[in-house]
């Protein structure tokens, strides 16, 4: 795996280039903000009919990560479904694929702001989960320690000798790690957003996705313009 290894509260973690977080010692794979059923929710609202392939695409990525790591526990860190209706009206083939993925391992659905309700797909639905030194929840709390969360869809804008690159990224400091959005149809929030700036400590790193995961200081080399979250279809 072309991941980036780092330590949080003594736990050795790997930020995978796919956007998943792998805790090898505990056999735990964490993904966040899958937003399954997003295109469908938008279609339901009567607007544009986006290509109905996002859920399949997101799942096939997840299948890849699970095949590569063979985790004992999978944690979906909230906003796994774009809304509660999406969770309850999954296409049969998608539901089957999810069941197959969950077979033989512990599967934890953390509640998100998009999908607060329990999920009828097996697994355990929790508001948050504690395991070893780490706490898993959807939205980071400013005063938390050893916390793994998602929600913000962090995205790093890099200016590399005139090259402008924007990629989803992990954010990590000694207190927490924030995961990028794993779902296919997801926008991003630039790192200079005040909320991210307030959450992350001065030594925070951004681990940028791509063919390989690269770690950079969060507050260096970022694009300067403050921008609102670009996720307007949601």
């Amino acid at each position: 795996m072309n991941g980036h290894d780092f330590t949080l509260a003594g736990a050795r973690l790997t930020a995978c280039p796919s956007g998943a977080l792998w805790w090898g010692a505990a056999g735990v794979l964490v993904v966040s903000d899958l937003h399954l059923g997003k295109a469908e929710r938008l279609a339901r609202r009567g607007g544009a009919l986006l290509p109905p392939y996002d859920t399949a695409e997101t799942l096939s990525r997840l299948e890849g990560d699970i095949a590569a790591t063979a985790p004992r526990v999978v944690i979906c860190l909230g906003d796994s479904f774009d809304d509660d209706t999406a969770a309850s009206t999954l296409a049969p083939d998608i539901a089957t694929r999810l069941m197959q993925l969950a077979a033989g391992r512990r599967w934890i659905w953390i509640a998100g702001n998009h999908d607060p309700g329990p999920v009828a797909l097996g697994g355990t639905a929790l508001a948050e989960w504690q395991h070893g030194p780490l706490t898993f929840r959807h939205i980071a709390r400013p005063d938390a320690r050893a916390e793994v969360s998602g929600h913000y869809h962090p995205k790093m804008r890099l200016n590399l000798a005139g090259r402008r690159v924007a990629r989803p990224c992990f954010l990590a400091d000694p207190s927490r790690v924030i995961l990028p959005a794993y779902g296919a149809y997801t926008g991003g929030l630039a790192l200079d957003a005040p909320v991210l700036d307030a959450l992350m400590g001065p030594e925070a790193m951004a681990i940028v996705l791509g063919p390989r995961a690269h770690a950079l200081p969060m507050r260096r080399a970022t694009g300067p313009a403050p921008r609102p979250r670009r996720d307007s279809c949601g």
Binding site: A43, G47, P51, Y53, R220, A221, P224, A225, S232
Partner: protein, 801 residues
């Protein structure tokens, strides 16, 4: 119809002669479709209106009689004022109103309830009117449609949308007559086919073109620089010309260049001649102020862009200066026509090449103008994304039968040949998304009723559809305004969002001739303050970069093959001679490729003369092939004439890279993943309604529909490669930004005759490309290496390594 006595008296009282083409339009007032081709200043617009004025004067019944469509909002306001004079002076009982995006909601509602005799509008406003359920009532009794500047509309999707609208109007209002007003074009018959209901004929009236223009190169004293644009070196000579004429229009090809030029012009404007700037990125208030000052003759010059290509005639313009190569002979002729202070006197124009290459292009253009040799590419079939939007808008207006809608659409000139199967695919796309995966009932925007007619599944979405009508897909722009002490500051204009994203507080840039300091972004408005600095960052506006036309490129190639160049300035002739000595000169039926080392990089220059867009595509294709071959390309830059590629390794056999079959295969594969294709896709997706620019409630927050269209593109390509929108994108890729058609033309022309010249030093023709802006990086393995290096360095600097 005869010219009524009241009209001839009015002309006589003003001491005006009625032009023969104005009489001709009256005489043929009953023609179902009529196209008037006349130069600027020939009273073209009045000619179009005279039959309407006469008919309404004769029978002033209430209700809409004439619909006038112009590509420019500003034009409709001017026309309203200009028509006001004859109507008032002749005492005609005629009500004229305009309706554009700027018209207030109250006024629009009044117009729908009680339409004026003459309504002045734009293609977008017409599309919107037609999307209302009461459209048949609004347009009941409509007799004539006047399409102004139809030559300009015919060059874009706005024209296709308009013709679909006219097809609807013709069905609603049997006997509706169409009149098109056009500047000089290369193929009037083709424009007639565009305008007339298909397959009916179009009558054409050609006005006297007037005397040949007085056009020449401006003698600047100093030679132009090697590369770049803007023509700032010529400012002293241009100021001298401005001083010697009443009113001068100084045309630039891009907004950024106009801004830079304007600023430097003012620095040199010691006599403080009143000179203004006008371009599409300035705020409406700023533009209107300039237009009003022009109209009263208060300005001695206006620095402008294509925003003044069209529009009313300002009577006092007696000189046009074109800065930068004209790129296109037809547009040059139309711009020259702007200097039309007297219809019977020759228009006067001077050209200022911005760099050495443009000296050649300007000379080629001069020869073409003198030979009345206009350029232009034939129009392809009407684009289908516009059909998709039209279907959606039709559904907003009410339930429709597919057969009837198809029958109507194929009476529009651009869609006369639209196969039924293609229409059905568009309908399918609008109704269900048209995806290969037919999964859910929920994927339905339109539903078929029991009577077989199609209707919106949720009628409340009509509002959203109306908010997204229109075919102009510009880069996302942000408004710029002065940071106020309190309350709202003065609006200055707009800049591209991508440009705004590169700004850091304290950065400076030019807008409206002022240098401003970037303070921050608030509520999606760029706030700035006055800055005292002298060297601004340059705003990269979205202004279209036109590619040099095929005809001009061929003239340049022919010129290069001459034994010597007595007509060219010495510096340019010397440059060509040196190129011939060091390497060779490009020719029409061979492809010159030069390789040389510079700055530690291997360089390859391909002199394809295929126009900026095609040369850029060639750069993308070649670098992709190089990447595949492990040749580690780092980037390239393209001009209208050549592509320069640099990389780590020397290219041993460029001819193999340029092999036609390989390039075509690369093009097919490359459709997959590059930025230009994604932009092309985005524009088609916006027009076809897959991506919504506006939705109720979102306008306020300024959040745009930038749910990345790139992701949609990648997903479709992976899961649904035959989807309609990808098909449309491929079709678009042959022209426009991608312009693969011109690469094909070049390959056909060259037929494998590639001359590879290895140069020990930088060859003269390639040298300017090294200075060219707009370098495009190759996102390949090199990029990963760069990120890796940067990550290592930054981590180390931060003490985290």
């Amino acid at each position: 119809m005869q010219m009524p006595a009241r009209f001839t008296d009015w002309f006589a009282a003003r001491d005006w002669t009625i032009h023969p083409h104005q009489t001709a339009l009256m005489a043929r007032a009953n023609a179902p479709a009529l196209l008037l081709i006349a130069p600027t200043g020939g009273g073209k617009t009045l000619a179009g209106f005279l039959p309407s004025l006469a008919e309404i004067a004769q029978n002033p019944a209430p209700g809409l009689h004439t619909l006038y469509i112009s590509p420019l909002k500003a034009l409709t306001a001017d026309i309203r004022r200009n028509l006001g004079t004859p109507i008032a002076e002749m005492g005609l009982p005629i009500r004229v109103e305009d309706r554009t995006g700027d018209t207030s909601q109250t006024r629009r509602r009044q117009q729908r309830a009680d339409p004026p005799h003459i309504l002045l509008s734009t293609p977008e406003s017409l599309a919107l009117l037609l999307s209302y359920e009461d459209a048949p009532r609004i347009f009941a009794g409509l007799r004539r449609v006047i399409v102004d500047e139809v030559h300009a509309l015919a060059e874009s999707k706005r024209g296709d949308q308009l013709m679909l609208g006219l097809a609807r109007l013709s069905r609603m209002c049997p006997g509706l007559r169409r009149v098109g007003l056009s500047a000089t074009v290369e193929d009037p018959a083709a424009l007639g086919r565009f305008l007339a209901p298909y397959p009916d004929p179009c009558a054409i009236v050609t006005a006297d073109p007037g005397p040949a223009p007085d056009i020449a190169m401006l003698d600047t004293g100093t030679p132009p620089p090697w590369s770049g644009g803007g023509g700032r070196y010529a400012i002293p000579a241009i100021l001298e010309q401005v001083a010697r004429h009443r009113t001068t229009l100084i045309f630039h090809n891009t907004r950024a260049q106009a801004e830079l030029f304007f600023r430097d012009l003012w620095l040199a404007n010691d006599d403080a001649l009143p000179i203004a700037i006008h371009h599409g990125s300035l705020s409406r208030e700023a533009r209107e102020k300039v237009e009003a000052a022009m109209a009263t003759g208060a300005l001695r010059a206006v620095v402008c862009t294509g925003s003044l290509d069209l529009g009313i005639d300002w009577g006092d313009v007696d000189l046009v200066i074109q800065v930068g190569a004209p790129k296109n002979v037809k547009r040059l002729v139309q711009r020259i026509g702007r200097a039309n202070h007297r219809y019977s006197a020759p228009s006067k124009a001077r050209m200022v090449p911005a760099n050495r290459f443009e000296v050649l292009e300007c000379h080629a253009a001069l020869a073409a103008v003198r030979a009345h040799d206009l350029d232009g590419a034939p129009r392809g079939p009407g684009p289908r994304d516009v059909v998709c939007q039209h279907i959606l808008a039709s559904a907003a207006a009410g339930p429709f039968a597919a057969d009837a809608l198809y029958a109507e659409i194929i009476t529009a000139g651009p869609y006369g040949d639209l196969p039924r199967a293609q229409f059905d695919a568009c309908l399918e796309f609008v109704a269900t998304g048209g995806y290969a995966l037919r999964a859910y009932d929920r994927w339905q925007r339109l539903k078929q009723g029991p009577d077989g007619r199609w209707a919106l599944r949720d009628p409340r979405t009509a509002r959203q559809i109306r908010m997204n009508l229109g075919t102009i897909v510009a880069a996302e722009m942000l408004k710029v305004r002065m940071r106020p002490a309190r309350g709202g500051g003065a609006p200055l204009g707009e800049i591209e969002e991508a440009f705004a994203a590169t700004l850091t507080p304290g950065d400076t840039f030019l807008i409206g001739g002022r240098i401003v300091r970037y303070e921050g972004l608030r509520d999606m408005v760029v706030e700035v303050s006055r800055a005292a600095t002298k060297t601004p960052k340059i705003a990269v506006y979205a202004g279209t970069k036109f590619a040099t036309s095929t005809q001009l490129a061929e003239r340049i190639l022919a010129m290069m093959q001459g034994p010597d160049w007595p007509d060219l300035p010495d510096h340019t002739a010397h440059w060509l001679a040196l190129q011939r000595q060091v390497s060779r000169l490009p020719s029409r039926d061979r492809l010159l490729v030069e390789s040389f080392a510079h700055d530690g990089r291997a360089h390859l220059c391909v002199h394809g003369f295929a126009g900026r867009n095609a040369q850029q595509t060639l750069g993308l294709l070649l670098t992709q092939r190089m990447e595949a071959a492990g040749l580690a390309p780092l980037g390239f830059v393209a001009t209208d004439y050549a592509t320069l590629i640099w990389g780590l390794d020397e290219i041993p056999d460029p001819a193999a890279l340029l092999d036609a079959g390989g390039l075509r295969a690369a093009f097919e594969g490359w459709l997959a993943g590059n930025a230009v294709m994604k932009r092309t896709f985005r524009s088609a997706a916006v027009i076809a309604g897959l991506i919504e620019r506006n939705s109720p409630g979102r306008r306020k927050t300024g959040r745009q529909a930038t749910f990345s269209s790139d992701i949609l593109y990648d997903t479709l390509l992976k899961y649904d490669p035959d989807h309609l929108l990808l098909d449309i994108t491929r079709e678009e890729a042959m022209k426009g930004l991608v312009d693969f058609a011109r690469i094909e033309d070049m390959l056909t022309r060259v037929r494998g005759r590639v001359d590879h010249v290895r140069c020990a030093r930088i060859p003269p023709l390639a040298a300017p490309l090294l200075l060219e802006a707009g370098r495009i990086p190759v996102h390949g393995s090199a990029e990963e290496r760069l990120i890796e290096a940067a990550a290592a360095r930054l981590m180390q600097e931060a003490g985290l390594g």
